[in-house]
């Protein structure tokens, strides 16, 4: 199967849905002639033209707010927020309006829209262009959340997100845009809320999402050389959260390390481990550990940023501590 980059997969994933469904439209800053500042909308304007690919004025609030209104007419808008940090600029719509409209109309109005956004750090973009903010959206009932780690998952999850009647926030990781993987066949869909086992192992479960999947896999390779077989679970989505796959893995490994890029404080891993504490305590032979970002803003200095974000070395170190149990 041909290879493609994660970045190409974003444009391809959107294009596939736009070909299938004429109600799908895209809107955002610089997504037309410039084809996206991260080149994630390459070819869309050329193929679908200005009636379906809208280069918008610079207002995140208007992009997401108008996406909601457009969705009420039966369109399926795919709104781009250039950097996930700027979700804060449209937070009213994401926290108060979009996720509540179905509830507050007694189920009579749904807004089947997608907000896609470039998330995460590791590229030296500083405190306001580098944050991993899946956990912001995770606090809002009514939003679904996908965060793919491979090109095939990008296409599969985008398909599921765009077809979903619920609003879905899709976090595309900036650090993964250049990574490569097999291109999925036509019709590829990854249902929301279905984790994948990225690597099988019997000694410890590493739960990861998006950028931390390759970090966990890298750690697992090194650990394997020392005779420790780590199982790596790629959650793919935070809402719905596939805890069944995590708990089944723990039944085999009895040890859990969660690897997340967002700060430890308020990170999504806290929810994962609290569910394990509630529902899987008897499965455990060792304390649970979370490897997360430090609770500081992302430094602009790249030598410092590299220390804030989780690394394979830190994962290996923590797994080593658990081996004592």
């Amino acid at each position: 199967m041909a290879d493609m980059t994660y970045r190409e997969a974003v444009a391809e994933g959107i294009a596939r849905e736009m070909r299938l469904d004429p109600t799908v439209v895209c809107l955002g800053e610089d997504i037309g002639a410039a084809e996206g500042v991260f080149k994630t909308t390459v070819g869309l304007f050329k193929e679908f033209g200005p009636t379906r690919v809208w280069d918008t004025p610079i207002s995140e609030q208007a992009i997401v707010g108008a996406a909601m209104g457009a969705a009420m007419t039966g369109l399926r808008p795919v709104a781009e927020i250039m950097f996930s940090d700027f979700l804060a600029c449209c937070w009213d719509y994401l926290a108060n309006e979009i996720p509540k409209v179905r509830y507050m109309t007694g189920g009579q109005v749904t807004v089947p829209l997608v907000v896609r956004t470039a998330n995460g750090g590791g590229l030296g973009f500083g405190a306001q262009h580098s944050q991993a903010v899946e956990n912001w959206a995770f606090t809002v009932p009514g939003l679904k959340i996908a965060a793919p780690s491979t090109p095939a998952d990008v296409i599969g999850l985008l398909a599921a997100a765009i077809r979903s009647d619920d609003p879905v926030v899709v976090f595309e990781h900036k650090g993964l845009f250049a990574s490569r993987g097999p291109a999925p066949p036509a019709g590829h869909v990854v249902p929301l809320g279905q984790a994948s086992i990225a690597r099988q192992g019997r000694d410890v479960t590493l739960v990861a999402l998006a950028s931390t999947v390759p970090i966990a896999l890298q750690a697992a390779e090194t650990l394997a050389a020392d005779g420790i077989e780590a199982e790596v679970i790629d959650l793919r989505c935070l809402v719905p959260l596939d805890m069944r796959t995590v708990l089944e893995s723990l039944a085999r490994t009895s040890r859990l390390v969660v690897v997340e890029e967002n700060p430890y404080q308020g990170g999504w891993g806290a929810t994962v481990v609290s569910i394990v504490a509630d529902e899987g305590f008897e499965l455990l032979d060792a304390p649970i550990r979370r490897v997360a970002g430090e609770c500081v803003p992302l430094p602009f200095a790249d030598s410092l940023e590299a220390q804030v974000i989780p690394t394979a070395a830190r994962v290996i170190d923590v797994v080593g501590q658990l081996a004592a149990y």
């Binding site: 800053e29 610089d30 037309g32 002639a33 410039a34 084809e35 500042v37 304007f45 050329k46 033209g49 200005p50 280069d55 918008t56 004025p57 610079i58 207002s59 609030q61 208007a62 940090d85 700027f86 600029c89 030296g124 973009f125 500083g126 306001q128 262009h129 404080q265 430090e294 609770c295 500081v296 803003p297 430094p299 602009f300 200095a301 790249d302 030598s303 410092l304 220390q307 804030v308 830190r314 170190d317």
Partner: protein
């Protein structure tokens, strides 16, 4: 529709509207009923020197980025007159809130030009002291600084520091793209109803990354001010004399208690949006050439020559001095030390915190564990 067809074909909104101009592209002085300057020969030569120097330092920063020595750089190329004109119009007590492109204003505030380069080299957490230098930090979340400026101006009002020649005023810099943001429009409303001493200085460089002006507006931007209840004026942003005169008048009005003004400095971004951008994807070469003929520096040189205020020796020495400054800047950038890793825990909270202290200790212990292993 192909990509070429999506490039701008019609002139931007309000391209035919007059602006305040005191110096034509040919270096001829023209008069304006409301605005004038009375610079002597020394001051005119000084402005020329500023313009050449900020362009040279900016070019050096772009070169450093190309050679992998800076992470990114947003060039001011083409906007020197708008920045030097408005920057020199500030009085020492005035406060400025920049975007990420105001290297020329930073220079006029007397801040060491290495400061932003340390940031963009990724070795420095902070930079200049915004309060001591009366120049805010570079703001990259588009539009936010207009509200910072408005709040600062409301603080000046509260402290009663308006109404005299010694009164304080604030200037907020932003681009044409930023005018679409809610917070920019909200800052206009606050400034208006609180009669805040703030000047909104919009450098309309015709593009917001790839998006041409008509993506943001159907009316000339300066006309927006009237709907908010304060004056708006468009100035030739490639004319340093007019940019100075208009900004000085607006700041003086503000400091005397006459409230906000919106200035639209009509100019052009000659380079890419940043070093990460490729403008050939969305604009045509002929447009860039057209603006080349309106260069902000060439016209001051023509003026100095026409009026016999400077000779070849002067121009050569300005160029040589700018080159020397650029070389010095480069050497200093390359010599900047890497920060200590534990610096990432500094300044999260003003008085520290137990959590951060604990993280710092853990971090230090973790790194010490490698040091002890040693040897590999």
């Amino acid at each position: 529709m192909t990509r070429a067809e999506s490039k701008r074909s019609a002139p931007p909104p309000g391209a035919d509207v007059d602006f305040v101009q005191l110096l034509t592209p040919d270096g001829e002085r023209v008069t304006h009923p409301d605005y004038s300057v009375d610079f002597d020969a020394d001051e005119l030569r000084g402005l020329y020197r500023d313009l050449v120097t900020v362009r040279k330092l900016d070019a050096e920063a772009t070169a450093l980025q190309r050679q992998g020595e800076l992470g990114i750089w947003a060039s001011l190329l083409g906007q020197e007159a708008a920045q030097v004109g408005s920057g020199r119009a500030l009085r020492p007590q005035d406060m400025a809130f920049p975007t990420y492109r105001e290297h020329g204003v930073l220079y006029c505030r007397g801040i060491d030009p290495i400061m932003p380069l340390g940031l963009f080299r990724g070795v420095d957490q902070g930079g200049w002291d915004p309060i001591a230098n009366k120049f805010g930090i570079y703001t990259i979340v588009i539009g936010a600084q207009t509200l910072h400026a408005t709040g600062y101006a409301m603080g000046i009002n509260k402290d009663g520091k308006v109404g005299t020649d010694e009164g304080e005023a604030v200037i907020a810099y932003f681009g044409d793209g930023a005018t679409s943001q809610g917070d920019v429009n909200e800052s206009f409303i606050f400034a208006s109803v609180y009669n805040a001493p703030v000047v909104f200085f919009c450098q309309n460089n015709q593009y917001a990354i790839s998006e041409p002006l008509q993506r943001q507006t159907r009316v000339p931007l300066y006309q927006r001010a009237s709907g908010f209840g304060f004056p708006g004026v468009r100035v030739d942003g490639n004319d340093v004399l007019a940019s100075y005169a208009v900004t000085r008048a607006a700041l003086d009005n503000a400091r005397h208690g006459q409230g906000p003004t919106l200035i639209e400095a009509y100019t052009y971004r000659m380079g890419a949006h940043t070093t990460s951008d490729d403008p050939t994807r969305y604009r045509v070469a002929s447009e860039v050439e057209e603006w080349q003929a309106k260069d902000p520096i060439a016209r001051v040189r023509k003026l100095l020559e026409r009026e016999g205020l400077a000779d070849d020796e002067f121009f050569a020495s300005v160029d040589a001095d700018a080159r020397t400054e650029a070389v010095k800047l480069r050497e200093r950038v390359l010599a900047l030390p890497d920060p200590d890793p534990t610096e990432m825990f500094a300044n999260v909270y003003p008085n520290g915190s137990h959590e951060i202290d604990a993280q710092r200790e853990q971090f230090a212990a973790y790194h010490a564990s490698f040091a002890h292993e040693g040897g590999h």
